[in-house]
């Protein structure tokens, strides 16, 4: 399973390129933006795209391209950290519950089910109300909201892989339980985890925008894609680029992530090696 053969998959190439562009934009946004993304200039408010402002300006006269580049960093960091944290915690909990079973499973699963029973956005709202709006707050809230579904999915696939004869074979060979779990059980559960992680990334982007929309996300005037999208709603008729620019950016990022995730899942599965 080499990384080189990953680049023979069209999904990986297209998805990887899209992601590269988005990550590049995020890095550029940190280092350089054509205008100050938070500087108001009421003389140039709601201007359509022009040579001076490639993507136009918003209702405060701020340069949309600058805000987009700056927001790329904010949105991508929040989404990636959320996904990473939710997958890490959820996988550990779910795998331990599925593999060891017993009272640990019962307690862990009961708690996770209770978390799942809460609408995740409401829970995130509640947490933000307590912690106040901040980036780390958003990440923590969304992690807690998404982690239970990861744990559920992982536990489910661990339960099915656990019954395979190669897991018993590993025990008969004298391998310890943690070794068996990390060597034989978890690697065979990677496919659903990757699929879920790519979906989560999209949900996290959207949830971040929903939180920003409600004023509980990234505090203004700093920009995020979700925030830009929600700010645009009053001007869709006069200035459609305000909605289109962040909307298309979010869609393209999701497309890239999903394509790349599919390619990764196939790459990790030796049965798909020659496809």
């Amino acid at each position: 399973m080499s990384w080189r053969s990953l680049w023979r998959r069209p999904n990986a190439i297209v998805g990887g390129l899209l992601l590269l562009v988005m990550i590049g934009a995020a890095i550029v946004g940190v280092l350089y933006t054509p205008y100050d993304p938070v500087a108001n200039d009421l003389a140039t408010r709601l201007k359509p795209p022009s040579p001076a402002h490639w993507l136009g300006t918003d209702e405060w006269g701020r340069d949309v391209l600058s805000r987009l580049l700056f927001g790329a960093g904010v949105s991508m960091t929040i989404s990636s950290f959320t996904v990473l944290a939710a997958v890490a915690v959820g996988t550990l909990l779910g795998a331990a519950a599925g593999y060891f079973g017993g009272w640990f499973e019962r307690v862990a699963m009961a708690l996770l089910d209770a978390l799942l029973a809460f609408p995740s956005l409401i829970m995130a709202l509640g947490m933000m109300a307590v912690f106040g709006p901040s980036r780390t707050g958003v990440i923590a809230a969304l992690t807690l909201a998404y982690m239970p579904s990861v744990a559920r999915v992982v536990r489910g696939s661990v339960l099915s892989v656990r019954e395979k004869e190669y897991v018993e074979a590993s025990r008969v060979m004298g391998n310890s339980e943690p070794f068996t779990m990390f060597r034989h059980v978890l690697p065979n559960c990677v496919a659903p985890i990757i699929v879920l992680a790519t979906a989560l990334f999209g949900w996290a982007l959207l949830a971040e925008s929903a939180l920003s929309f409600l004023g509980l996300g990234v505090p203004p005037p700093a920009s995020s894609w979700g925030g830009m999208l929600s700010d645009s709603r009053n001007y869709v008729g006069q200035a459609p680029w305000l909605a289109l620019v962040p909307g298309i950016s979010i869609s393209l990022t999701l497309l890239g992530i999903n394509l790349f995730g599919d390619a990764l899942r196939d790459q990790f599965d030796p049965r798909m090696k020659n496809l």
Binding site: E165, A169, V172, M173, G174, N175, R271
Partner: protein
């Protein structure tokens, strides 16, 4: 002679390949089935036998397509028939029984509903009439309580019972043709015989022609009127069963028959037995059934009940019995996948139960297991060399490179030399995978090898190769071998001694010749009688052997043990022990 019910002429089926081409899996196959006759399609996996059965009903998988030929059912052409025409034929005129009884009935509907559904759809009878016919058919397949069964759900019945219900619900339509695809392969020998007996009797009565798809030559020889022998999608030979299977002309048929397990090859060597390696002393294994509500106490269920046996150094001991008899559980207790709840297991005189973590690790290097299912016993993500090398992981003082070298050497030893070590399991056939499983088990040269049905998922020719490999490896490495199987033919070929289990108890044990030639316990007799075999009969001919040993009377004052209480073990000859209970 009557016009044939089904007439297949020059049938060809092709399957699309991933490269975009097409490969013929059935090529120029022709045969007829007369009303009331049973024709068997016989061949190894990949011979196209299932494809032929499915093409008659036009239920081919999406990648397969009928390319040429005609299928005439009662004079009607089916290959070109429309979907609407096929729907009228399926179920009403042609019934089908599948291999897997556990999934071929809808678990959410009662048996009665499923039986009446088709009757009312196709025959347009009243509900009362449908009920009457369904009940009558349940009675004829010898369901104990037809009325109760009518209202019951499929999960309340065992596999054999479900296959009878399936048969009843198909035959209640009085179809002109029944397609039975490996109908008894998933069942135990005794139940297999019961289902086949019912099937052949009923279809003869109704006048249904049967297309039997099977790989079991013994069963085909006992039930089918005619045989069509297939290989790689082509007809090798066809004709009356007597001629094809008992006096084969074609080389391939002969090769198949030669691959059937026979007694003389190896096994039955009481002289190899050395000191005791394993002593199983009155061992019981209990499982808890999960209670329905968490406050209830869990029920206990004894899978093994007070079983005692010994395994000597260098010998092959076979554990036989039906599913649920506890034979697998004993094997799993030996490799410590389950713990006994009572009794003792001693390995080289030391008590296994008392081992601490360290001696357990040492013990595990000496006992290994080969699993039944070659498709789930190898981690799909690892290369073969890595899979085998893992067997050496707990052996101290070996570098990674040394482990890899030894793993590759062992792969070569089991017939997978060269670059096989770099492949993944999915690139191998079932037989090759089983070789990897064996290599992994013996790479650390254990003293005991537990094999749980290691060849039951394989074709007879592959089965023969694996059994030969086992014997060769045993001669070379000298391990003792606990062979768990329901297949009495295979056991007869390789076992030195045989232990018969029935519902958690050992009912008979002895040398292979004692158990096969003078069985005492009625269960052993039934087991032997239910396994028809094809054996060589001088010259180039074969004969169908049905075991019909006379029942030896139990000693004065005793009956043969058949459950309930503790058995009395009685030695009828040196080393030949039978379970009795006081009369």
């Amino acid at each position: 002679m009557n016009a044939p019910t089904l007439s297949i002429e020059g049938l060809a089926v092709a399957v699309r390949t991933p490269e975009g081409g097409a490969r013929r899996v059935v090529d120029d196959v022709s045969f007829d089935i007369a009303p009331g006759k049973m024709v068997a399609l016989v061949g190894e996996s990949g011979s196209g036998k299932t494809m032929i059965g499915r093409s008659v009903l036009k239920l081919l998988p999406p990648v397969a397509r009928t390319e040429a030929g005609r299928i005439l059912f009662k004079g009607t052409e089916l290959v070109a028939a429309s979907d609407a025409q096929m729907r009228r034929v399926r179920g009403r005129e042609i019934g089908m029984v599948f291999q897997e009884p556990m999934v071929s009935l809808n678990p959410a509907l009662t048996v009665g509903f499923q039986m009446m559904e088709a009757l009312r759809l196709h025959h347009r009878v009243t509900e009362a009439e449908a009920r009457r016919q369904a009940l009558e058919m349940l009675e004829r397949v010898k369901i104990v309580d037809p009325h109760g069964c009518f209202r019951a759900y499929p999960h309340q019945y065992s596999g054999g019972m479900r296959q009878r219900i399936m048969l009843a619900s198909v035959l209640v339509m009085r179809p002109a043709l029944l397609i039975a695809d490996e109908p008894t392969t998933a069942l135990d020998a005794i139940i297999q015989k019961e289902v086949m007996d019912i099937m052949s009797e009923l279809t003869r009565d109704i006048g249904t022609a049967v297309l039997l798809v099977s790989h079991d030559l013994g069963m085909v020889a006992s039930y089918a009127d005619e045989v069509v022998m297939l290989r790689h999608g082509k007809v090798v030979e066809k004709g009356a069963t007597q001629e094809i299977l008992l006096a084969p002309r074609h080389e391939y048929t002969r090769m198949l028959l030669e691959s059937l397990p026979t007694r003389a090859v190896s096994g039955g060597r009481p002289e190899v037995a050395g000191d005791n390696l394993v002593e199983v002393d009155k061992v019981s294994v209990e499982f808890r059934k999960k209670p329905r509500f968490f406050w209830q106490r869990s029920e206990r269920f004894r899978a093994v009940d007070g079983a005692s046996l010994t395994l000597r150094k260098g010998e092959t001991l076979a554990l036989v019995g039906e599913s649920g008899s506890g034979k697998t559980t004993i094997g799993r207790a030996l490799v410590r996948l389950v713990e006994e709840s009572d009794g003792r297991i001693r390995f080289e005189g030391r008590e296994v139960t008392a081992f601490d973590a360290r001696s357990l690790a040492a013990y595990r290097l000496q006992t290994q297991m080969v699993f039944q299912d070659p498709f789930s016993s190898l981690d799909p993500r690892m290369t073969l060399a890595a899979i085998v090398a893992e067997g050496l992981r707990t052996l101290p003082g070996l570098s990674r490179a040394e482990r890899d070298t030894r793993a590759r050497a062992m792969l070569a030893e089991v017939g997978l030399p060269g670059d096989y070590g770099d492949r993944n399991p999915h690139e191998l056939s079932g037989g090759q995978r089983q070789r990897v499983s064996i290599a992994r088990a013996i790479v650390a040269t254990p003293k005991l090898l537990v094999a749980d049905e290691p060849v039951s998922a394989l074709d007879v020719t592959v089965q023969k190769q694996i059994l030969t490999l086992f014997s060769a490896l045993q001669a070379k490495f000298g391990f003792s071998y606990l062979f768990i199987s329901h297949d009495l033919g295979v056991v007869e070929q390789i076992a030195d001694r045989v232990v018969v289990m029935y519902r958690g108890h050992i009912v008979e044990q002895g040398t292979r010749d004692q158990v096969y030639d003078s069985p005492h316990h009625p269960y052993t007799l039934r087991l032997l009688a239910a396994t028809p075999r094809i054996a060589r009969a001088g010259g180039s001919g074969y004969r169908l052997v049905r075991h019909e040993a006379a029942q030896a009377a139990a000693p004065q004052g005793f009956d043969y043990f058949s459950g309930g209480g503790a058995p009395v073990m009685h030695e009828v000859a040196p080393g030949h022990i039978v379970a009795l209970k006081a009369a």
